[in-house]
């Protein structure tokens, strides 16, 4: 399907309001019959200009802003932000605070992965597994509520440590819930791997070749499903990930099913880390939070962590006042959505579009940037605005 035949194909505006996505995202899909010819990803609906906001708030207020960049991975954003500021000051947080932060991050990875299984099954038309996975996800949210009193936006970490302690007397209850989740994880591994219909809708779909992963700097489970072994928790260990033995899950196929299976086995790894952390919680020495200075002299620092969807990167510059000079946030979904959709969707069937888009687990509020992806072919059909407007009018 060369570019010049694009003229007779049908432009299908998918989104921005669409049952498929939790948030708003607009895909202009060039469709010829049922096969997708080309996709223009046009996000930007979620862009709130957070980086510019952060320059007008002091370091403490920015914690609450960092938490609300993305509701699903709010814990990792706060921890990365606090780590970045601690690198600026050169602060060392107490040992117990490190363990508590790791517990919160792994719990968040669990609930984000269960959310992904539910959305994945929902896209394949299987509502039952959506209901089951989101029912089990409530167990993770119960544990989070026990620790932080909140289901989303837990507000646990602050610059210099953690604000609340893990209730010791409820740890056996948490471990019981984790065992329940492990049992359910085995069940979902069997469902997603052996169910013929799911295999028919996911094996060999949305292939991401291994050599393109690094070239287009694609991160996280999407990269690991194509055979590239990158996990920030192992490459650049932070918090207590080097003290606990766990292993990185890598699969070779690189299709939709591989991405699902990578996340399913990562659930088992996270449960292993959580149990190890809960058992090895060190005693409370003096405080949970070291006192951090309010004004930070000019310096620059970087902090890299592993969010549920991939490598999260913060770069901060301070200028001697209590407000950061510049704070750069590069979220995993920004790269995954912008670079991988063009490769994955070309030549696929329209019916598989939601499955492939959901398989890279897009989190659009994370990716508050936007890009037009058009990876290879520079020119293509120019459609005038009025034509598109008329199409959308009728929707």
């Amino acid at each position: 399907m060369k570019e010049k035949d694009v003229r007779k194909c049908y432009i299908l505006p998918v989104g921005p309001q669409h049952p498929m996505y939790v948030e708003a995202e607009n895909l202009m899909v060039h469709v010829d019959g049922e096969t997708i010819v080309n996709v223009d990803v046009n996000i930007g609906y979620m862009h709130r200009g957070i980086e510019e906001l952060m320059q007008r708030r002091n370091y403490i207020q920015n914690i609450y802003l960092a938490e609300r960049i993305c509701g699903i991975c709010s814990g990792i954003h706060t921890v990365t932000y606090c780590q970045c500021i601690e690198n600026l000051i050169g602060l060392e947080i107490p040992e117990r605070a490190k363990y508590i932060r790791t517990i919160i991050l792994e719990l968040e990875r669990l609930h984000s992965h269960f959310l992904f299984f539910g959305v994945m099954a929902y896209e394949m038309g299987l509502d039952t597994v959506f209901m089951y996975t989101w029912k089990d996800r409530e167990a993770v949210l119960d544990i989070l509520e026990m620790i932080s009193g909140n289901r989303v936006n837990y507000g646990m970490s602050a610059v210099g440590g953690v604000r609340r302690d893990v209730p010791e007397n409820r740890i056996p209850e948490m471990i019981k819930k984790l065992d329940y989740l492990e049992k359910r994880g085995q069940y979902y591994a069997k469902v997603f791997y052996s169910d013929k219909l799911i295999r028919k809708r996911s094996v060999g779909l949305g292939l991401l070749p291994k050599k393109l992963v690094d070239k287009y700097s694609i991160v996280g489970p999407v990269a690991r499903a194509s055979g590239v072994k990158t996990d920030v928790r192992k490459d650049i260990p932070y918090l207590v990930y080097d003290k606990i033995d766990w292993n990185v899950i890598v699969r070779e196929e690189g299709d939709v099913l591989a991405r699902i299976m990578v996340k399913i086995y990562e659930v088992f790894e996270s449960i292993k880390i959580l149990k190890a952390c809960l058992k090895a919680l060190p005693g409370l020495e003096k405080t949970l939070k070291v006192k951090a200075p309010f004004v930070i002299e000019t310096n620059e620092a970087v902090s890299v962590t592993e969010a549920p969807r991939g490598e999260l990167f913060y770069y901060a510059v301070s200028n001697g006042t209590d407000k950061p000079e510049r704070l750069r946030i590069r979220t995993p979904s920004f790269v995954n959505i912008a670079n991988s959709l063009g490769i994955l969707l070309k030549g696929q069937q329209l019916a598989d579009l939601p499955i492939i888009v959901a398989s890279i687990d897009p989190c659009f509020s994370c990716c508050d940037r936007v890009t037009l992806i058009d990876v290879k072919s520079g020119e293509r059909k120019t459609v005038d605005e009025a034509y598109l407007k008329r199409l959308e009018e009728r929707k």
Partner: protein, 148 residues
């Protein structure tokens, strides 16, 4: 007299089958996942007859969360016009009520009630699923008085 009776039954039926549409207009999708959690077995909204419809043509209740970004505003207004008349708008989360934490962002276009008449506000960042359910039910009662 007969017309009163028809009106009463229609109102009763309208209260019993609220089809809702969820649109995230630029928040941190914390409210979106809580709104999605309203569908799951623990807080099931289908026992009140609620169905999550993707199409503005079929919906009665618009559950809108997030501080409206400049880019999605024209789409939001079009979706508001596309929904057939007896409709209720519910603003979910503090971003939709008062732009929340993004009050001085350059790309945010103001709380929801600047763009469309809002009937029910559900505060919280994000509101728990029980609060969202309670908000939807309050919207239904308000609907009945409005058409009484």
């Amino acid at each position: 007299m007969l017309f009163r009776l028809v009106e009463k039954t229609l109102n009763y039926a309208r209260k019993k089958s609220p089809w809702f549409l969820h649109l995230d207009t630029g928040g941190c999708n914390g409210c979106s996942i809580e709104l999605f959690a309203v569908l799951n077995p623990r807080y099931d909204i289908e026992r009140f007859g609620g169905l999550s419809k993707a199409n503005p043509r079929h919906t009665d209740i618009l559950l809108i969360d997030g501080a409206v970004t400049k880019k999605i505003r024209p789409r939001l207004e079009r979706i508001y016009q596309q929904t057939p008349e007896p409709k209720v708008v519910v603003a979910v989360g503090s971003c939709a009520i008062s732009k929340g934490i993004f009050h001085d962002a350059y790309n945010i276009d103001g709380p929801l009630d600047k763009i469309m008449p809002v009937d029910v506000y559900i505060p919280g960042c994000p509101p728990k699923p029980e609060a969202i359910l309670q908000g939807v039910i309050k919207a239904l009662q308000l609907w009945e008085e409005k058409h009484e």
